[in-house]
Symmetry: C2
Subunit: 129 residues, 2 copies
DNA sequence: CTTGCCCCTGACGCAGGCGTCAGGGGTTAG
DNA sequence: CTAACCCCTGACGCCTGCGTCAGGGGCAAG
């Protein structure tokens, strides 16, 4: 499978795959004689895992920090939460991510409150403080 | 007053003042013989208004779209909500801003929920969908 | 006169996850 | 053989509100 088909199969674009490879989320794949990247089903599965993790808010750097964890998660069936998941768990980054999400939500909610208050009291013009 | 003192008086930096000027939020100020910007109390007040509006979530472009409104708001005492505030009100941008804030808050809240759900069911590892 | 702080303009950096263009080669159906 | 589409690498663009560096001049005190 060449990059275009692999990307389509994983629901993304060739550019994204090259980007993940460059950032260390994907190992450099095999190449054809003419230098074209060759992907198998395992790589596609791995990309799907990456996309899911990104979709729930983890960053590329989060994933790059524990590349081996992607191996486990992309297995079929995936080995999740064995007795000893080792030091490769995403738990720390997930917790950090939750914290920053909470902080951001609180910040925006606060902003929204202030803005709504001002529009109510000042006719959407000047915040009084 | 030169730019450093004016910036300090308004609670910001010289760089920010030049930036506001470049983006049309501040009119080009008077210059000394040697080309240094000269500010008065009115400019400082205007900068304070700008900062408050930015702090509640409006963007530089929002403010730049209605530069005359800043004149009114920076007056002492400010003329707010006269019988005819003209077409220069921030109400439309404020409403738009509220909408984007709501959308963003909803998005982040949704993310947070999903992430928290996955950490609870999968031990902070793999999102099952 | 010199030291030291302030000002000037112009331009790049940042954070994130790619999109997109440039310039050049592969590959496959007709 | 050639059109048409795909792939390659390298590099800039995006978006916001400035921070920061580079290179060059001003101004008041000792």
């Amino acid at each position: 499978m060449r990059i275009g088909d692999a990307a389509a199969a994983a629901g993304t674009t060739p550019r994204a795959l090259r980007f993940y490879e460059q950032r260390g989320l994907l190992r450099p794949p095999a190449r054809s004689a003419s230098g074209q990247r060759e992907y198998g089903p395992a790589e596609v599965a791995r990309v799907r895992v990456i996309r899911r993790l990104l979709a729930v808010g983890l960053t590329v750097d989060d994933l790059a920090s524990r590349p081996h964890r992607l191996d486990l998660l992309a297995e079929d069936p995936p080995r999740r939460c064995t007795a000893d998941p080792g030091p490769e768990t995403y738990a720390p980054v997930v917790r950090a991510r939750l914290a920053t999400l909470d902080a951001e939500i609180a910040r925006l909610t606060d902003l929204r409150t202030k803005l709504a208050h001002h529009i109510a009291t000042n006719g959407a013009d000047v915040p009084s403080a």
